[in-house]
């Protein structure tokens, strides 16, 4: 797996809130400069996601995990850095240099995103079927019947009754909304799925269902998944490799088993200890 060309490569990604100052290098308190108050939300992150793998990103709240994910999905513009996709210009062009039409194409066909908050990922007043069709229309489909069939197939795959496909997600439970988001993200069989804290806020039984679903999706579609969570149990269950983030930086990375069994960084040791 690691010998293949990465589905996504990120190099020196930096996203800061504020102008920064010469003191920023030495006087960061966590990720905030004591002098100019600039917040270094994502600080010099580099990583690769390989075909078919689940790469977990774990870290405490405010460590920059979601900022990283939302930058990758063009919700935020990074201050500097580069990310390439194997399926976009053969990995030769930085995705943040893409035009807005190209960005739409990337979001519709190469990447799928599941947000922690379903409001960000779904049109709550449109039917579940339309939410999925939105991605298909964006990719150029103009056949209503085929779109309905695909929506039904995807909703079935995430265990939502097709009899409810005409209902709006605002009438669904939190777990169902997450599952609609997942089916929407899968609509065009993207090469990379971005999952941002998909189980946060769900009760334990629903969490288990969603995690089980992600495992099934990985087995069925074989796509790469970038999975963000602050819960090490989720990472242990799903991720092949894991990256640990703290204060906007990567402090440790490696195979998930290796990280869990032999954590090197003090913060990772605390995390693993809390899991036990």
């Amino acid at each position: 797996m690691l010998n293949e060309k990465p589905v996504m490569s990120i190099r020196n990604l930096l996203l800061r809130y504020g102008e920064g100052c010469p003191s920023c290098r030495g006087s960061l308190e966590k990720n905030r400069c004591a002098v100019c108050k600039t917040v270094w939300a994502v600080n010099d992150i580099s990583l690769d996601v390989y075909p078919g793998e689940v790469l977990g990103i774990v870290g405490e709240s405010g460590s920059g995990k979601s900022t990283l994910m939302r930058s990758l999905y063009f919700d935020f513009t990074p201050t500097s850095g580069c990310a390439t996709l194997r399926d976009y210009k053969e990995g030769q062009k930085n995705i943040w240099d893409a035009s807005s039409a190209e960005r739409r194409m990337i979001k519709n066909t190469i990447m799928g995103m599941v947000y922690q908050n379903p409001i960000l990922g779904l049109r709550m007043n449109y039917s579940a079927a339309s939410n999925i069709a939105e991605k298909l229309i964006g990719a150029g489909s103009r056949h209503a019947g085929q779109m309905t069939l695909r929506a039904a197939e995807l909703l079935e795959a995430v265990e939502i009754q097709t009899s409810r496909m005409c209902e709006a997600p605002k009438n669904f439970s939190g777990g169902m909304q997450q599952r609609v988001q997942i089916s929407k993200a899968l609509a065009n069989r993207p090469a990379l799925l971005l999952l941002d804290e998909v189980t946060t806020g769900l009760d334990l039984s629903v969490q288990a269902k969603v995690l089980d679903l992600i495992r099934k999706i990985k087995a069925r579609y074989g796509m790469s998944i970038l999975l963000v969570s602050h819960d090490l149990a989720v990472i242990r269950m799903l991720a092949d490799r894991t990256v640990v983030m703290l204060d906007g930086k990567i402090v440790e990375s490696g195979l998930t088993d290796q990280i869990l069994e032999d954590p090197q960084h003090e913060y990772t040791q605390q995390l693993v200890h809390s899991l036990i």
Partner: protein, 287 residues
């Protein structure tokens, strides 16, 4: 001191009310609109002795284009006799002294709201439509800067989604008027609040269609012989309203857009041509 009452005549106004500079500017915008079919051209909408939203866009187009040799027809929802149509006709007549008519084929310039006449328009005729909301994407996007970008990038996915949602909910597209259409395969356009019955009349027509939105300060156009296709999915064809089994109680036409009329005294419901001049011509011809 008494108030001097004078009957206003065309001597008190510039020909066609607007000053020549304003007319030139509107004509320039119109030319640009004709050159780029379906594209909304911004223009400096003038103040008129009519409230915005009462057809000022259409009137400004009419006033900037009309010449002494023109014959004007004004209709409102198909009727030549409605208050709006009569008032606009009087106003333009007052400041131009041009001939007015109710016969579609006699008119060189037709101003209309909500309908396109039943008689096919011919080369040399101009149909001016009054438009309240020119932006077809407004229903899916409130911000003007974003809709401009969407047009520039031909990003019409949200409007297709709107149509699909209608299919999911009601098994058919439920848009009755302002049905969006694609002009020359480039711009999605709002054909103004005409019923979708009239949409096919825009396609490859011989006449020039001009659309004026005074409040929104936009002009757009469909030049003669332009391809205008109403949006429809590959497997769900575009359909116009059906009046199957109904006919006009006055002229007997069964292939026109019919209004349903309710007679409160008798409790009777009947259908009647929405285009009153067409109906009258059919009746006159029969007699």
């Amino acid at each position: 001191m008494g108030i001097e009452h004078r009957k206003l005549t065309n001597n008190h106004y510039n020909f066609a009310f607007l000053d020549e500079g304003s007319k030139r500017e509107i004509r320039r915008a119109t030319l640009k609109a004709v050159a780029i079919p379906g594209y909304q051209v911004p223009f400096g909408s003038r103040e008129l002795p009519i409230g915005r939203g009462w057809g000022t866009g259409g009137i400004q187009l009419t006033l900037s284009l009309i010449g002494p040799e023109d014959t004007l027809k004004v209709i409102d929802q198909g009727s030549d006799e409605s208050v709006n149509a009569v008032s606009i006709k009087k106003f333009v007549g007052l400041c131009t002294q041009v001939k007015t008519t109710t016969r579609t084929h006699e008119a060189t310039l037709i101003q209309t709201r909500h309908r396109i006449p039943e008689i096919p328009l011919t080369q040399g005729q101009i149909l001016v439509l009054q438009v309240p909301i020119p932006e077809p994407l407004r229903i899916v996007e409130a911000r003007e800067e974003i809709t401009k970008q969407m047009h520039a990038e031909k990003d019409y996915a949200p409007i297709w989604l709107q149509l699909y949602e209608s299919l999911v909910k009601y098994n058919k597209v439920t848009i009755a008027s302002e049905y969006p259409c694609m002009v020359e395969g480039r711009y999605v356009m709002n054909p103004s609040p005409i019923p979708k019955f009239d949409n096919p009349k825009l396609h490859k027509s011989s006449c020039l269609y001009l659309f004026g939105a005074g409040r929104e300060k936009k002009i757009y156009a469909i030049p003669p012989h332009t391809e205008v296709i109403s949006l429809a999915f590959d497997d769900v064809p575009f359909e116009i309203e059906s009046f199957a089994g109904q006919q006009c109680r006055l002229c007997g036409s069964g292939n026109t857009y019919l209004d349903e009329v309710f007679d409160a005294q008798t409790g009777e419901r009947f259908h009647q041509c929405s285009d009153t001049s067409y109906c009258k011509e059919v009746v006159d011809h029969a007699q």
